[in-house]
């Protein structure tokens, strides 16, 4: 038994697991900033998208079109390599953020998730029945109150499953930030691979951690769905 435990402790996967684990906080840090920021901005963008101001709606529509039509990798590279090559950005205050791969990753991930999230929320807002808005209006709700009490709660509740999908895609997307020398889990796994020439062991260790992270995300979304859909619960 002890021999068996020792052999596990000496195995590469076991050692790599803890090495990769040390990059977990960097991955989570990326998510902790870009996901809440992306959520708020996506809501605002969705509201702008469905607003009657044509210019605003058109601008946001084209923003969504461009971001959804290009790979995230292009966006990350554009921000990290592209903006860094512009002289006046290097001399401005923006450079404090853009010289760090971490902030480039956060900006790129946020820009990306806002486009997808706005489209999801737009679907939710547009699927609200007219009668619910009208009944709110007939009760004398103002525009802001209507939004806060009727439109947003119903819309967010409706889109929770698809927004949960987007959250999982974001967890996976953080791995791309490793290509800008940022050392999160994929970056560390790649470094281990380069050191030990044991690719399978290194990437399986990282894969297990990503699976675990996504599992937590799924549970979180399930909890939210349970919490905000009290009328759909089978037994109260």
């Amino acid at each position: 038994m002890i021999e068996f435990l020792n052999s596990i402790q000496n195995s590469l996967i076991y050692k790599n697991f803890f090495l990769v684990l040390s990059g977990l906080d960097n991955t989570i840090l990326l998510l902790l900033i870009s996901l809440p920021l992306g959520f708020v901005l996506a809501l605002l963008f969705a509201l702008g998208r469905v607003s009657k101001i044509t210019l605003l709606s058109r601008t946001i529509a084209s923003y969504i079109f461009v971001i959804r039509g290009t790979p995230l990798l292009v966006q990350i590279y554009l921000i990290y390599f592209g903006l860094g090559s512009v002289k006046f950005i290097r001399e401005s205050f923006l450079w404090y953020a853009l010289k760090e791969p971490f902030w480039c990753g956060v900006i790129a991930l946020t820009i990306n998730t806002v486009a997808y999230g706005a489209e999801i929320f737009r679907g939710g807002i547009q699927s609200i029945e007219k009668s619910q808005v009208e009944s709110g209006l007939s009760l004398g709700f103002g525009k802001f109150l209507l939004l806060r009490k009727i439109i947003l709660p119903i819309a967010i509740r409706k889109v929770l499953p698809s927004y949960g999908n987007e959250l999982i895609l974001m967890v996976k997307a953080t791995s791309l930030v490793s290509l800008t020398t940022y050392m999160e889990m994929t970056g560390i796994a790649r470094k281990i691979m380069a050191k030990t020439f044991a690719p399978v062991e290194a990437f399986i260790a990282a894969g297990i951690l990503y699976l675990f992270l996504n599992f937590l995300m799924v549970q979180f979304v399930k909890y939210l769905e349970w919490k905000y859909n009290p009328h759909l619960r089978l037994n109260n």
């Binding site: 039509g69 292009v74 894969g207 699976l211």
Partner: protein
Amino acid sequence: MFKFDKLVFGDAGWGDEFLIATFMTLLVSILSMGLGLFLAIITVWAKIIQNRITRFIANFYTTVIRGVPELLVIYLIFFGGNAVVMSIAKVFGYNKYIELNALTIATIAIAVISATYSSEVLRASYLAISKGQIEAARALGMNKFSIFFKVISPQVVRHALPGIGNVWQITLKDTSLISVTGLVEIMRQSRISSNVEHSPLTFLITAAILYLCLTTISGRIFKTLEVNYSKGFST
């Protein structure tokens, strides 16, 4: 800052290189989409036949691949694929060093990823076919093959087209990750060009525009196909 004059065709610019790279991206996307659909059909089949083992394997495959970043899957297949192929070859008594070329690895890696998405789409559209139709076909004395080709697949295609269109867009964008393996597609080409010309902004914007064109045009094509396939159905 911008050097868009470097995008001319011929020896002075990168225009023709980018054109070839675009075709490479398209080639990888189409090949891996095709292989992915083939894998997806097998996965769906494994899930819908009443067999615990195949269903477990198929579920394990889709859950794991969809829960792990695409980049990790590509790294795993790129760095680990050779070893797997060589160990299989060893079983057959072939002991020399085998190296898969970049296109093969890229196609397999992207196909493995895209198959998981396709399989969900195909499974949903298979389940959308009402049981009565299959029973009716059986009552008419059709055998399994003609039921599959004459009753099931035409309807699956119609139901699945919008979803498959989405998977195609994802696949097309995922091919940008293949640049880490050294295959010269749009992303890799833009990195090479920007390293030579010291103007990343130019070539990255070029890459973005090329991807945008590809996704938009293929989106249009899928729209047309959808209209074609849903003729006679009011949707």
